[in-house]
Amino acid sequence: MDALILTIIATSIPLLLAASGELIAEKSGVLNLGVEGMMLSGAVGAFGAVLWLGNPYFGIIAGAISGILMASVFSIFTINLMTNQVATGLGLTIFATGFSGLAGAPLVGKTIPYLPKIEIYLLSDIPLIGNIFFKQDLLAYISILLIILITIFLNSTKPGIVLRAVGDNHNNAHSIGYPIKKIRWLATCFGGMCAGLGGAYIPLILTPHWSEGMTSGRGWIAIALVVFASWIPWRIIVGALLFGGITIAQFVGQTRGWPIPSQILSMMPYIATIIALTMISGRFSKNKSIVPASLGKPFVDVT
């Protein structure tokens, strides 16, 4: 049983990482639909770095940097040049898919060592729990740490509150004197870093090889997760585990002969996301300010 739980966790972590970054970007009012592209860049960057430098930990750094670079491209166009975020995000995915394929062409057919597991002293010896929580790789610990830090950041720190203010009403925030563009740049780059890490997790931990388009649409699921979580960080963990769990449940169901068509099962997370969105946005919800009000709208600096 714990083998299945570990599998669910492992398949969820790329989603968890990418979604946490996208959450911060969206909280600042930036809807970056290029997550898939940034994940691919992170994956190819991480794989290339490990192949070149030998140490898997360089993969983490390279994945993060690759993601940030792609996010910078997005930032230049959407924030400085005020292009439409939806179209630019789609463009970024096209661009980054091409870029990663090109950069990764010499890497095809090679393999790298796994990122090692870190056992936490004593805690890892606890039956069941020890295996699941305290015998993970560095990126898995980082992903949980990120969620905790993001929660604290958004709720209890001044920069976090400023970030939310920018996402909720950039004109008001601007009139108070906050540097909207700078804040959005940072938030977008943080999103890129996390997406890069999420992409890096795939060749570093899950399947240590590179091939074109190996993220197979996980970036889009990450975007869905942010919505599913209604922009509340800890709910991303629940959502990621749910997405991962459904994939694994499909396979387990098949080996044990459950009679549900796998496509119908695969639809569930998306339908659940729509329902979750309805619950938080609609009249069922007391708190109407969950969705960042300026999401997707370009900020025009009228000076």
Binding site: F99, G101, Y270, V291
Partner: protein, 359 residues
Amino acid sequence: MIVFTPRNKISKNWIFLAPILSIFLTVILGGFIFTFLGYNPGETLYHIFISPFTRIDRISDVFVKACPLIIIGTGLIFCFKANVWNIGAEGQFIIGALLAGSFGLLFPEMDTKFLLMIMLFIGFLGGALWAFIPAILKTKLNVNEILVSLMLVYVAMLLIDFVVRGPLRDPMSFGFPLTKAYPEGALINKIPIPGIGFLGQLHYGVMSIFILVPIAWVIINKTLLGFQIKVLGSAPKATSFAGFKEKRITIIVLLLSGGLAGIAGVIEVSANMGQLQPEISFGYGFTAIIVVFLGRLNPIGIILAGIIIATVKLGADNAQMAIGIPKVVTGLFEGILLFFLLTGETLQKYQIAWKKYGS
């Protein structure tokens, strides 16, 4: 630092200059990239931009490729003008084609010359139905339509996969995921040109561009509905003063765009495939969003933008055939072109000025 200030009036020069400048910059940057990768830049750029226009059948294939993009894009104009962000056209396209196709396959006795008409109608309803979900959620419960429409794309993809592999699979296909071939009356024929025969894949469906786009233009520019859509988009608060219902318009634009995406789906499948298969859309719904922005939310602009995008896609294949340049390189190039074209829009709306810090 560089600052942008809005232009009072959109400059006539820039309307033409901006896209030309964007393409020009892409050509230069692309040229450098191709040179860096060891390809002859002139040759590569020739194949990408010019070769699709060097034979009449290639030109007609550009239109065939652009056709679904332009039809979907025409629908999206209504949404985007009203500030309603439907990014689920991919799903509406699929559902339209799926419902219409299922009708054609399940009622073969309907095989008359009216079958296609009925299917187009069902396709419109199907696409509109899929768009009605975000519409009703947005207007009744204030749910964000960007995300709902995006989620529904995945539901639609899985739905057609299920139907084609399951209930509608042709029993004679050795388990391969294909439905039976459409009955004769459900197909859209290629256009015979006297003396030449057929031009590539040019089919009657392409004609619909020249019907739908002018209608869209008239609705937007000459009707009350068009006026209301524009008011809703530019000044949502003014709509209540002007005495019409914001919610009603929101629903109408979503239904229109969903319906047109559905029609595009029916045309694409009836003209080019002749049966349903697990994948029918190949990202048209998403590419159309880019087309709409490149076309500046203008029906005529969208025709041009659709042609540009189709040209680059065809050109990429031609470049590969001629000089073996891999698809990834042309993907990269396409991304750069999009970025520059989108920037062009900014230059159209804003003036650039150099300003010292703190001033």
